[in-house]
Assembly symmetry: C2
Homo-oligomer: 287 residues x 2
Amino acid sequence: MRLALLGVGLIGGSFAAALRAAGAVQEVVGCDLDPGALAAALRRGILTQTAGDVADAVRGADLVVVATPVGATRAVFAAMAGSLSPEAIITDVGSTKSSVIEDARTALGPRFSHFVPAHPIAGSERTGVEHADASMFSGRLAVLTPTPGTDEQAVAAVESLWLAAGARTERLSAETHDRIFAAVSHLPHLLAFALVEMIAGAADAQLKLAHAGAGFRDFTRIAASNPQLWRDVCLANRAHLARELHSYRARLETLQRLLDAEDGVALEAVFARAAAMRRVSDEDASG
Amino acid sequence: MRLALLGVGLIGGSFAAALRAAGAVQEVVGCDLDPGALAAALRRGILTQTAGDVADAVRGADLVVVATPVGATRAVFAAMAGSLSPEAIITDVGSTKSSVIEDARTALGPRFSHFVPAHPIAGSERTGVEHADASMFSGRLAVLTPTPGTDEQAVAAVESLWLAAGARTERLSAETHDRIFAAVSHLPHLLAFALVEMIAGAADAQLKLAHAGAGFRDFTRIAASNPQLWRDVCLANRAHLARELHSYRARLETLQRLLDAEDGVALEAVFARAAAMRRVSDEDASG
């Protein structure tokens, strides 16, 4: 089995490494705008060869994995369309799904039925194929969001690859996926970026940073995520994210009013509902 | 040396345990509204005896540590005022300082000069003396915020106790302390409580929780903090916190406008400034 990896970074590199470790693929052809990423991936044995462009990379591939920032997927689909093997299965690892599906539908034409949209819930604040890890998806969740037009055998094939990589899989509609992740991933990242950028711009930034306790330190870790990647995510999932941000701002307006009114009872009630959720979260989620 | 510990929880219990382990105190008299906390602290050897009320606890004590939620400090200072030994040094571990200083000034009268306001930057999402740990302050920062009226020998004595507990110490004005911690601790907690409470109240809360990734999971950990304690902190540091919340809401308004305008360049610039800060933070802060 021959895999074309388009975008050789942390997630794509880890998926390729996991599939090779599992014996699910033998050859991995990598394509990336950054020659340094290709060199590092070859050196680490994640790639078996490199290609100069997307069309070259996908020619003869059984499986094509798009692992670029989501803002680049449309161009990548367009570049591969004319060179895909008839039986090739195409999938991706993007954090948003509706926009990627629309990109694929537009660019792939009749080959769209072989595109299986996917999103592994994994990652790290470290970026780059240097930190790729074949065990990254072990025990993690890979969400697949096939459309009514997606070929069932293609979906099953991609599911079996994620299982081979150690993940468990789940199917959701792209709409449900994007709504959920706007709330539990995209909004938290936006909030963390906003707080860290605010403190970074304060006149007493150095003093504040020198006293970063538990609260702020967690925000800086989230806000250390790749800016370009998150710009793409925010734009691609703009409608859902804007709605969540709007609700959240209304909550902050309420909290500001409670603070101004010194309403300790109502503040504590909000905090207590949040603190109670932690326990539910610990019980239910493992991804 | 005899220590009176008023409020037997995670922080106070850890400080008493550290001081006993270091040989800096021999007797620890505990006072708490919760008999279970007193029993647990006796069982763990953190307390050598218990007292039925604050006045009893401080009688004959060389050192009095107030380790209640900050909303309770005024009543605790008032209850101890008439029973303090002439040479007793009084200190606290509260997360806000100006309000505690005002409480002490009002209640302690001439003994106010022996009150040394302090805030160790440590803690855990776990609460209660059951989780107290003599090494909790090892390598951490203890901020002291003496006033111009605070006795210098009392400040030096409290500094030496924090050093004995393994911490390093720093002096700041209460005003500077409260301004800094409004930004790097109190606001992040408020933001986390608000997000987790929003998601907890959503119609699809279970689905969202089951898909909590890195971003939201960090928020749930912060939001698992003690609601009553954080209510007190928010009210006690209300002026600074309200100002920070106001600035932050203005930032979110800007981000909402950038999202609506699909302004990827400006969004990425905000994210990049935040991501760059992480590196500075890693270099500068260790507390």
